[in-house]
């Protein structure tokens, strides 16, 4: 009875893995990822994705078997891994077999000869045995991996993860290193290729990480105790040193990395700004605002209309004067939109704010308001910020001359964004610990109880909207000068969804969480062109998975952590969310 169960379990896991494999193929991920290498000349990212699927199938099947039959049945665990890997491989290759008979491409764009070539290793039908065999081997490997002792498993898995990380960003590291001089350039070319790490690089990184891991597991506890025994002053000094190091890297990176990466970092910091803003409304006060982009749009349009030298410029004032005005206008708008929805709760609030956001976008892009906002053509010719005195406004379509330093390049705007982000992080941090912040959190936990305890709901909620809007407005203002123009079509709901997703991934109510979330969700897809194709697919998956596995986020706020340490984890993580 039990043996049959284990066979059926392995088959089920294999079928699931096969379905995932086919999904990855048909959605285009395997083919597009195939343009990138993990290790040059050895394995491409596309192949790696499939192998990883088989590997996890083998792992999952063998784990299920050992849960079912007990830890000691290592032979049966291996067999179930093997079966699951085989079935997954067979299912994926079935796609090729069917594709050779029927024109799948009439329906699925990605069921192309290129995909079949990839799956059969360019041997057409005579190569169909390769993938199932690979499935068997990797499935077996996955199962065997589970049987290894923990001391081996951890360094190996970390080594592989680090290798993938280096491979994904090999282009970035290569460029940065080559810019540093010839010696670095030689090293860079040895370790990183055009599309992935080289074989030498792969071996190097793997050994380094495994070595570090082994070293840490033998000596790590010693180092930790020595560190802990250091006098208070020395420890504080170390911490400051670390902080300064991070600051230097953060400030210097755009200078050495070139304009593209600088632009990515600016976008990350803009999303950090908006994330900190929504973190007040959503993370602190628990009000899910899906129309957040409206405030961003208000900030952007205010700065645009006030500083543009194009046909829609109302005034031609400097950026530095326009920004505070933009923030004030965004705050007024936050109050304007916040007032009516004060009485609306929970998911109704989410939909109502979504409606607001869409209304703002549609109005800004309509012909009706085109004489003011440019309609679909947008507002163009936005004056760059100038550290110095601006020359007088001469005529439409001529920028004012900057007598001083013009902050035109993305690298320059980056510093503006960083200063703004630091300022706002400070404000958010102080607000969090204030009376107002505690009132917000009380509302988040339970509105009725908060009201009964004397929290003024109207004022507190309004302030959450207004301050959130102010931060978003600032983000929009900086974004405008970065791009130099505004289009209503860029004020999509997707921007709001991005911000919501990054807060959830980082951890609601957590300030470092916003930074982590922005880097992970905004930075990575911007840097990896191949991944950015599937950005929202992955976002969707992340939102679903996070809600089930880790609703408190990657870097939860301290109060959430404290709660988790005290009692039943599941209940509390869930409660902190609403």
């Amino acid at each position: 009875m039990k043996k049959e169960n284990f066979l059926w379990n392995a088959t089920k896991t294999g079928l699931l893995g096969g379905a995932i494999g086919i999904f990855l193929c048909l959605v285009g991920m395997v083919e597009i990822f195939n343009k990138r290498d993990v290790v040059e000349g050895v394995i491409t990212l596309g192949q790696f994705v499939l192998l990883a699927t088989f590997l996890s199938v083998g792992l999952a099947a063998s784990r299920r078997t050992s849960n079912l039959l007990g830890q000691n049945q290592s032979r049966l665990s291996l067999i179930s891994g093997l079966i699951a890997g085989l079935i997954s491989g067979l299912l994926v290759i079935l796609l090729v077999v069917i594709g050779n008979q029927v024109n799948l491409r009439a329906v699925f764009l990605n069921a192309s000869p290129a995909l079949y070539d990839l799956l059969t290793f360019k041997r057409s039908l005579s190569g169909i045995w390769i993938l199932p065999v690979t499935g068997v081997i990797t499935g077996l490997a996955g199962a065997a991996f589970l049987l290894l002792p923990e001391a081996v498993r951890r360094p190996v898995s970390r080594g592989v993860l680090f290798l993938i990380f280096m491979a994904l960003f090999s282009g970035l590291f290569r460029v940065v290193l080559i810019n540093q001089g010839t010696l670095w350039g030689v090293i860079a070319k040895g370790l990183f290729g055009q599309t992935g790490v080289t074989l030498i690089g792969a071996i190097f990184f793997f050994i380094v990480v495994v070595g570090l891991n082994v070293f840490w597991s033998s000596k790590g506890s010693n180092i930790q105790t020595t560190l802990n025994q250091l006098p208070q002053k020395r420890r504080a000094g170390l911490r400051i040193g670390l902080f300064v190091l991070i600051a230097i890297i953060a400030l210097g990176l755009p200078q050495v990395s070139g304009p593209f990466i600088a632009q990515v970092i600016v976008i990350i910091s803009l999303y950090i700004l908006m994330g900190l803003g929504l973190n007040i409304t959503l993370g602190f006060a628990g009000l899910l605002d899906l129309g957040f982009v409206a405030f961003y749009a208000v900030g952007a349009y205010t700065v645009g209309l006030l500083t543009s030298y194009g046909p829609f410029g109302l005034q031609h004032i400097p950026f530095w004067v326009a920004v505070p005005i933009a923030v004030l206008v965004a705050m007024a708008f936050g109050a304007f939109l916040g007032l009516p929805v004060l009485g609306v709760r929970g998911d109704y609030l989410a939909i109502a704010t979504l409606g607001f956001g869409e209304i703002v976008r549609l109005l800004a892009g309509s012909d009706f308001l085109a004489p003011f906002f440019g309609g679909p053509q947008g507002v163009i010719g936005i004056q760059k910020p100038c550290l110095g005195i601006l020359g007088t406004f001469l005529s439409v379509d001529t920028p004012r001359i900057c007598n001083g330093i013009e902050l035109g390049k993305p690298q320059d705007i980056y510093y503006v964004a960083v200063v703004a982000a630091l300022l706002i992080a400070f404000v958010a941090w102080r607000l969090r610990e204030s009376r107002l912040g505690r009132a917000w959190m009380a509302i988040r936990e339970d509105e009725d109880v908060a009201e009964a305890l004397g929290v003024n709901l109207v004022q507190t909620k309004l302030l959450a909207y207004i301050l959130g809007a102010a931060f978003a407005g600032l983000g929009g203002a900086i974004f405008t000068v970065l791009i130099g123009s505004i289009f209503a079509s860029s004020m999509q709901l997707l921007v709001s969804i991005n911000v919501v997703a990054l807060i959830i991934v980082g951890g609601m109510g957590s300030i470092p969480g916003v930074v982590v979330g922005a880097i992970a969700l905004i930075g990575l897809p911007e840097l990896l062109r191949e991944v950015s194709e599937f950005r929202y697919l992955i976002y969707g998956l992340i939102l679903i998975v996070m809600m089930q596995a880790k609703p408190e986020g990657l870097w939860p706020s301290q109060s959430t952590r404290r709660e988790l340490h005290h009692a039943d984890a599941d209940n509390l993580t869930a409660e902190t969310l609403v």
Partner: protein, 355 residues
């Protein structure tokens, strides 16, 4: 308790603002209608065209709204991915119709050629919805309310961009069906055949759904579960099974609506579900969420308002190209209802816990 001056001021500001908002809306409607009628730009026949278009559009919204309303009635959750379920139906119907067209079936059997894609779409959408329910929503059954909503947003994006990956970002043109081209003359008015067929098909299907919910055992169980899950479970109802069938039935309606939508607009793409989804949700709230006849009424009201509104209310106020603001009317209605009458037209006043 004595209120401080600021508290009193804020309270006054809030209620003043809300009243101002209402008065503004009434003014827009009344003045806009007055000036439009006085200008007399449109003939009576054109107004009837607007209304007929609104009805066929509204019937589609109503069909989607049913899924929102049924799921909300049972789980108190906004199934944000429902609009995308509608989109999957349109794609399933499209590929079936293209295939039937290529073997010449549609021209031989026009009626079946219309029905088979709809049935295929219903089956496909229902299976997707059941999968989504199982993977994304079921583990969150007892989680706080924002958690399933966020998971639903995730599911929505996942479906959209999976379809974008499968079928590409471009638009697909729905194959033309000869029998549906041209007009019918009804009571001396020319009406597009497509619109009549779409509206009739929608009404038939809504009738079927209504009788399922009203007269079958599953329907009875659904109503019991939406009344009280625990009690229903004590009465021997398999609550999980009922929830799954609710998702499936709602999704089947949305899938069929997807095909009907494609018949009217003649083109589909991966993002087509978002706007109709939000509007159908508006329709569901408009009619009173959790209320099945309400969703039908709400859909019709929204469809007609949206179709007549730009010309009737906005053009009179001197707004050019008012049709661009069609969606603004729908969203404004959404916001107004959520603000002023969250229980909807037909809904009873929901307790705070429900709303």
């Amino acid at each position: 308790m004595r209120m401080t001056f600021t508290e009193r001021f804020v309270d006054l500001a809030v209620s003043g603002f809300l009243w101002g908002f209402r008065i503004l809306m009434v003014l827009v409607i009344v003045l806009g209608t007055f000036f439009t009628v006085r200008a007399g730009k449109y003939t009576g026949e054109q107004w009837i065209d607007f209304v007929v278009f609104g009805i066929s559009q509204g019937a589609i919204y109503a069909m989607i709204a049913l899924g929102y309303t049924m799921v909300y009635g049972i789980l108190r959750m906004i199934n944000f991915a429902h609009g995308d379920i509608f989109m999957t139906g349109a794609f399933a119907g499209y590929f079936t119709a293209v295939w039937l067209n290529s073997i010449g079936f549609v021209n031989a059997n026009p009626v079946l050629g219309l029905i088979i894609p709809i049935v295929a779409a219903m089956i496909f959408s229902a299976s997707i919805a059941m999968l989504v329910e199982k993977i994304a929503y079921r583990p969150l059954r007892n989680a706080p309310r924002l958690v399933p909503l966020i998971a639903a947003i995730g599911a929505s994006f996942f479906i959209e961009y999976a379809f974008r990956g499968f079928f590409g970002p471009g638009k697909y043109a729905y194959p033309p069906i000869k029998v549906l081209e041209g007009d019918w003359v009804i009571f001396g008015i020319n009406i597009l055949k497509v619109q009549v067929v779409v509206a009739v098909a929608a009404f038939i299907m809504m009738g079927i759904l209504y009788s399922i919910v009203k007269y079958t055992k599953v329907g009875k169980a659904m109503r019991a579960v939406s009344e009280n899950k625990d009690t229903a479970a004590l009465m021997g109802i398999d609550v999980n099974r009922i929830i799954v069938s609710t998702f499936a039935i709602g999704a089947a309606m949305a899938g069929a609506a997807g095909v009907l939508y494609a018949l009217v607009y003649r083109q589909i793409d991966f993002f087509m579900g978002f706007t109709p989804g939000v509007k159908a949700f508006t329709a569901a709230v408009l009619g009173g969420i959790g209320n099945i006849p309400g969703a039908m009424v709400g859909g019709m009201v929204l469809g007609i308002f949206e179709s007549v509104g730009p010309s009737l209310f906005l053009e009179g106020l001197g707004i050019t190209r008012a049709y661009q603001l069609k969606d603004v009317i729908a969203y404004t209605m959404l916001v107004m209802i959520l603000l002023f009458r969250p229980q909807g037209i037909l809904g009873e006043r929901l307790s705070k816990q429900k709303a």
